[in-house]
């Protein structure tokens, strides 16, 4: 077995880059900080690709290999928090994705964030994020996952709130952090339940104990607790809640659209390709337990994913901010990944959903980050996020136009782009297990095509007039597509989007590690592709030219349109719950107890001490006769004591 200890460099280089840039980036290394961070990320990407090559070229079923392990905090002989790295198919896939997309974003940001006064800080945060995400995906210990989970949340907070003088950005950062933190409470309780019952925190041992027949397994499945649900279901559901928060599943999705307040490359990295799939990754990590021991919890995953996909697709059809459309489309695609995991079984052909979900994660990373980078270029040119300010851009930014079109075709599931392949597998898995979910998936794919091409046509076609967009710069007009540092990542990602579909994914990644053979069923693919083409056609008809067609349909749909535009009022419901119920019911009484009872006790002790002190102070009144009286009473007391009471 080859030696994988070089994995530690994959983790330490981003950390070192964060520390270096964090400490010195503000004053000393300002402009070269981008180069430093990008170079370190390049090294990390090369190492990850090399690790993937050496891991997947080993023969046979791919086992889980422990590359590094340090026992950090032992609780008891069996249970300890270890820090380390394990390599198994999905973790290798993830380190490749994370490092590659991060590299693309680093290069893109060299051009996009040029001239930003806090350039060094930005790259420091990006490095921190990459470190946390890599630590999350390679961790072999559930607690290490939790630690890096929080690390990713913090980096996301720092990056969303990067423009901290914008109050909306600050509010969005807080919202993201609080919502995901709230979900992480469920995650933590789930960790505690599962690890306590199984007696271990290590992933491999946990899975083994809870899937094969063992006393822990019987205990955890037969012990019913709160509401008559077994402990295992509670544990898995709570862990899934944590994952749902991070992956923006309904109803914890409210932070994702607002997170678009951050710089666009950040959205590309964090909120499209890497962090938001952490929830999917977590379910995939614990998938054997879900599939073998508790199909009920898997149902929760399925329906949550399916519903979120549908909801997000409906909302995305009416949004007018380019980044928000992309945010909802991310939520929808993650919904796909979730329900693909949900409908999957374990082992062999039954594990098709698992493989499809991971494949979609892989391809989605490429085309979604490409979409966001393209949006970044467009925003960089137009200086606005709104669709109404854009139009006719295909004539002045050809590179962006082609890349964006490729990405939109991929996400719509048109062959031969990568999205087609991964979506087919998902729909095939759904068809084999749950026809209802298949129908939803089909509908959503049609809607996806519609709203993505609505976006495409509104940006690049809509108007025929030639707008003179001159980005203000010192040296005169820049190329509207952006400098080469902005174009290169887009072109590379577009190439990946085209080619990723042909990667023999199932040979490497499947639910039990053994290679799976897949094929494309042409008849089956007919339905989704034709639905996508209908969606594209509708969007073209409505949005290619500026006619009143879209307004008429909006008028027809009336209330439903308005509800979708207002994101189905989920934010308002959450605000109601937090303000009226949690604040008034829990927050205010708790604050009252804190102020009056806890502080009151402390202040009371202080006040009482002061009062006693004042009273005692009064003894020294300066009045001689009082002193004489005290003296006398003291003597009398001592006399009584010594004569009568002293035995």
């Amino acid at each position: 077995m080859p030696n994988y200890t070089y994995i530690q460099w994959i983790l330490f280089l981003p950390l070192a880059s964060f520390l270096l840039l964090g400490l010195f980036g503000r004053k000393y290394i300002k402009t070269t900080s981008g180069i430093i961070a990008t170079l370190s990320m390049l090294v990390v990407t090369i190492l990850s690709l090399y690790a993937a090559y050496s891991y997947f070229s080993a023969a046979g079923a791919h086992q889980s290999i422990t590359a590094l392990q340090y026992t950090w905090l032992p609780f008891s002989p069996g249970m300890s928090i270890d820090m380390g790295a394990i390599l198994d198919p999905i973790s290798v896939m993830m380190i490749v994705i994370v490092s590659f997309v991060s590299l693309m974003v680093h290069i893109f940001s060299l051009g996009y964030m040029k001239g930003e006064p806090r350039f060094g800080t930005y790259y420091a945060f990006l490095s921190l994020f990459t470190f946390s995400m890599l630590g999350l995906v390679v961790s072999g210990n559930i607690f290490q996952t939790y630690i890096f989970w929080e690390g990713v949340g913090v980096s996301s907070y720092l990056l969303i709130g990067f423009y901290f003088d914008k109050p909306t950005a600050v509010a969005a950062a807080k919202k993201a952090f609080i919502v995901t933190r709230f979900a992480d409470l469920g995650f933590l309780i789930g960790i505690l339940i599962l690890s306590f019952q199984a007696g271990t925190l290590d992933f491999n041992i946990l899975i083994q104990r809870l899937t094969t027949a063992s006393p822990q397994l019987t205990h955890i499945t037969t012990t019913t607790s709160f509401l008559g649900i077994s402990l295992l279901t509670w544990g898995l559901t709570l862990v899934f809640i944590g994952g749902a928060g991070k992956s923006a599943m309904f109803p914890l999705h409210i932070w994702l659209p607002d997170a678009m307040e951050g710089p666009t490359p950040v959205s590309a990295l964090i909120h499209a390709a890497t962090m938001v799939v952490a929830g999917v990754y977590l379910v995939a990590r614990l998938f054997p337990i879900f599939a073998i021991s508790d199909p009920g919890a898997l149902q929760v995953v399925t329906y949550t994913g399916a519903f979120s996909a549908l909801l997000a697709a409906v909302i995305a059809c009416t949004q007018t901010d380019i980044k928000r459309v992309l945010a909802y489309s991310t939520m929808s695609q993650i919904g796909y990944m979730m329900f693909a995991l949900g409908v999957s079984g374990y082992g062999g052909e039954a594990g098709l959903g698992y493989m499809a979900s991971m494949f979609h994660l892989f391809t989605h990373a490429f085309f979604k980050s490409l979409l966001f980078l393209g949006a970044g270029t467009i925003i960089h040119l137009v200086h606005s996020n709104e669709l109404s300010d854009m139009g006719g851009l295909r004539k002045i930014m050809p590179v962006t136009h082609i890349c964006f079109l490729i990405a939109c075709l991929a996400i719509a599931g048109i062959p031969p782009f990568s999205g087609f392949f991964s979506k087919e597998e998902i729909l095939l898995a759904a068809w084999h297990s749950n026809k209802g979910v298949y129908t939803i998936g089909l509908l959503v794919s049609g809607l996806t095509a519609f709203y993505m091409f609505r976006l495409y046509f509104s940006i690049f076609w809509k108007k025929d007039r030639w707008y003179a967009f001159a980005p203000v710069s010192a040296g005169g007009r820049l190329h509207p597509d952006g400098p080469p540092t902005m174009q290169a990542p887009m072109v590379i990602l577009a190439a990946c989007t085209v080619l990723a579909g042909f990667v023999p994914f199932s040979k490497w990644i499947s639910s039990d590690g053994a290679p799976l053979s897949t094929h494309i069923d042409v008849l089956f693919s007919l339905a989704p592709v034709s639905l996508a083409l209908i969606g594209i056609g509708t969007a073209a008809a409505l949005y290619r030219k500026e006619n009143g067609g879209s307004q008429k349909i909006a008028g027809v749909l009336g209330g439903f349109y308005r509800a979708s535009y207002r994101k189905f009022y989920v934010d308002e419901i959450w605000l109601f719950i937090t303000k009226k119920i949690i604040f008034n019911g829990i927050g205010r009484p708790a604050a009252w107890v804190d102020r009056n009872i806890v502080d009151g006790l402390m202040n009371g002790i202080a006040t009482t001490t002061a009062k006693i002190s004042m009273t005692i102070k009064g003894v020294q009144s300066g009045k001689i006769q009082n002193y004489a009286l005290y003296f006398f009473v003291g003597i009398a007391g001592l006399a009584v004591l010594f004569i009568y009471l002293w035995k």
């Binding site: 102070k617 009064g618 020294q620 009144s621 300066g622 009045k623 001689i624 006769q625 004489a628 009286l629 006398f632």
Partner: protein
Amino acid sequence: MNEVPLSHILFLSTALFFIGAYGLFTRRNMITMLMSIELILNSVNINFIAFNKYLYPNRLEGVFFTIFIITIAAAEAAVAIAIIINLYRSHHSIDVEDAGEMKF
């Protein structure tokens, strides 16, 4: 003097002592406080003489104690009057309540 038991004389001296103590606690005038102190000292003298007479008639210690107490009481009264006069000069009153500066 054999008919009067010792305890009666001691009763007298004790009562005189506590009368003097009462005067010390309640009088507002510094000189009257001094007078009460003299009463206390006198009661102690009576005590010494009585004990000397009744319990140790072959010795004279009680007498000597009394002599010395009287001497010292005289010295102390003189010094006390001097202090009171000095205090009177600054406060223009011999009310003990007015001399309460040494407080917290």
